[in-house]
């Protein structure tokens, strides 16, 4: 509810004008007092979340930024202020640049692939009549398997000679080759993620009315046309949401690297978050690790901004009655 609604807005003919003004002022005061009271309640309700959010998200971001301005590694007993040197060094750090580009590649490849597969799965699941349960299970189960467990399983598949793929060709060494390793890892990421995204699409599909399809069918549209003309456009809001989720996931999923490649060969499969782990906890270069953290947070914030832009538009479209 808005303050403006509580305030008498129209002047009533024939009444004393000053009286009306007084009424207006009291109304405004009351409304404002009411809103302050509400604000207090709202902030109280929000405070538990807010405290934890501040302590474990906002404060650490600020702390990372401050730390990134210091030289703080194993060679320094006390952190030394050095401005933006850590950032300048990152631009010269080959490993960091590799991680950066790898991350971009992971995002560019896994996001569309996962989304494409997820839509296909969801539409397929909706279309079949029997065995829905098995189909759901078959597609969605990777979501419920821990990443480290998934990495173990995929190691059984990729390990040359003994692995599952070894039965097809014992000389395939996908994880051992700098050029193929990241693709092998991405295949696993897509497998892991497509089912999760499928959930959102199944949810989105329930929102599309049957009548629409029937009307289009009468007009003689084939199943592909049905998808192109009805399903896909109507799933657009879901797609945008899922796109953001998948994009952030591309920057957050790293557990498998610990098991599968440790970022290698060289840095061929390394990504930013795992590099933060290595720099921060292996090399103890807190300054540098903080700088990478800030870069990663920056990247994620950019994605957030895209989402806001989208949300604002959606709000404009949807919430006008």
């Amino acid at each position: 509810m808005d303050i403006a609604m509580k305030i008498p807005q129209k002047r009533v003919q024939g009444q004393d004008w000053t009286l009306q003004r007084e009424e207006y002022r009291v109304g405004l005061k009351k409304a404002i007092r009411g809103k302050w009271k509400k604000t207090l309640i709202a902030w109280l309700l929000l405070s538990p979340s807010l405290i934890f959010l501040t302590v474990f998200t906002i404060y650490p971001i600020a702390q990372s930024f401050i730390n990134s301005l210091y030289k703080d590694n194993l060679s320094t007993l006390k952190p030394v202020f050095q401005g933006f040197t850590n950032y300048a060094n990152l631009l010269k750090d080959k490993a960091f640049l590799e991680c950066f580009w790898n991350n971009l590649l992971v995002a560019v490849v896994t996001v569309p692939c996962s989304i494409g597969l997820a839509v296909a799965f969801a539409v397929f699941e909706k279309g079949i009549k029997r065995g829905k349960f098995l189909v759901r299970l078959g597609f969605i189960y990777p979501t419920f398997i821990p990443m480290v467990a998934a990495a173990n399983i995929w190691m059984f598949i990729y390990t040359p000679i003994y692995g599952l793929l070894g039965y097809i060709n014992p000389n395939w060494r996908f994880l051992a080759d700098g050029k193929t390793a990241i693709w092998a890892v991405m295949a696993m990421l897509i497998w892991k993620q497509a089912g999760y995204i499928m959930l959102f699409y199944m949810s989105g599909l329930t929102g599309i009315s049957k009548e629409m399809y029937e009307a289009a069918k009468i007009d003689g549209a084939g199943s592909f046309q049905l998808f192109r003309l009805i399903t896909w456009p109507l799933l657009a809001p879901t797609t945008t949401y899922v796109f953001i989720i998948a994009l952030t996931n591309a920057y957050k999923m790293v557990d498998h690297l610990y098991i599968m490649t440790k970022g290698g060969p060289g840095n061929a499969t390394n990504v930013l978050l795992f590099y933060i782990y290595q720099t921060g906890f292996d090399y103890w270069d807190t300054g540098k690790a903080s700088a990478i953290t800030v870069v990663l947070v920056g990247l994620l914030l950019i994605i957030t901004c895209i989402k806001f832009f989208h949300d604002d538009r959606k709000a404009y479209y949807n919430e006008t009655p």
Binding site: M1, F144, A149, F156, G195, I303
Partner: protein, 281 residues
């Protein structure tokens, strides 16, 4: 277009659809291979594990060895404690926060909303380094509580509750207010029952996330007795030889995966229903 060609195209369409269906079933099979493979290796005797086509009676020997070799019971306990503890706190927090965002018009709402949304993107696991330093300062490293704290506030949960509450007519709340109910009563009696489906779908997501969580517990725990399942599994798998002992690693992997999969299978229908209707889009 004469009727002959029309018939023809219709047939082609049928063939196309059938092909597409076949392709999807193939994909389904490929997608399922990792699970089938791990189940098969977990239950086959160790000497046959490396031979893809070996057949043998299923055995529980692998599981016996795994359970004797590592304290998986302890790992289970830790993960359950972490997962459920976090979830219970989250449910309280997101209900309060979601209600505030959905129903109250207050100063700073937009700013706070943006703040919440930012957590959706910059999840605590991105901030491992500063959060770790913070936990060390608080003396909470190598404590289960330390692993849990950063996840108590959940932007995603808040959003789900907010969306769900928005779909509930305000008349219910107003009627309760007329009956003299105060805010806690309204929340508890009016909203919580209606939010149960939302809780279920969020609960599944939250539980899956915590069950999966690895990097954060890895840096946070020092002692074996604080390790959650994911970490215990990783350590277990790394101490084993490639090839020769895969049946053991498979058995351990299977043990770790089973509870969530079972929950999903049991509550599949409810989960799907609530997921579809709780405003997660």
């Amino acid at each position: 277009m004469n009727s002959f060609t029309q018939k023809h195209t219709l047939q082609w369409k049928k063939v196309g659809t059938a092909l597409l269906k076949g392709l999807m079933f193939l994909m389904l099979f490929i997608n399922a291979i990792p699970l089938l493979w791990v189940i098969r290796t977990a239950f086959i005797s160790q000497d046959k594990a490396l031979d893809l086509f070996a057949v043998g009676l299923p055995t529980l020997d692998n599981f016996k060895r795994v359970l004797a070799a590592a304290p998986f019971g302890k790992y289970y306990g830790n993960t359950l404690f972490i997962t459920i503890g976090i979830l219970l706190v989250q449910l309280v927090f997101i209900t309060l926060a979601g209600y505030a965002f959905a129903r109250i018009d207050f100063y700073g709402s937009r700013l706070l909303f943006i703040l919440f949304l930012s957590q959706l993107m910059i999840a605590p696991e991105v901030l491992i380094l500063p959060n770790y330093s913070l936990m060390v300062k608080l003396g909470l490293n190598d404590h289960l509580l330390g692993i849990m704290l950063p996840f108590f506030a959940s932007a995603m949960g808040t959003l789900i509750v907010r969306q769900t509450i928005k779909t509930i007519p305000t008349e219910l709340e107003e009627a309760a207010r007329v009956d003299g109910a105060n805010l806690p009563q309204i929340l508890g009696k009016v909203y919580v029952p209606l939010l149960l489906p939302a809780y279920l779908s969020f609960g599944m997501i939250s539980a899956a996330f915590q069950w999966n969580n690895f990097l954060w517990p890895l840096v946070m725990t020092d002692s074996v007795s604080k390790r959650p399942l994911s970490l215990g599994l990783a350590m277990f798998a790394m101490s084993y030889e490639t090839g020769a002992q895969w049946s053991d690693v498979s058995a351990a992997t299977f043990l770790v995966c089973v509870p969530l999969l079972a929950l999903f299978i049991i509550f599949q229908r409810q989960f799907m229903d609530s997921f579809m209707h709780s405003g997660i889009k």
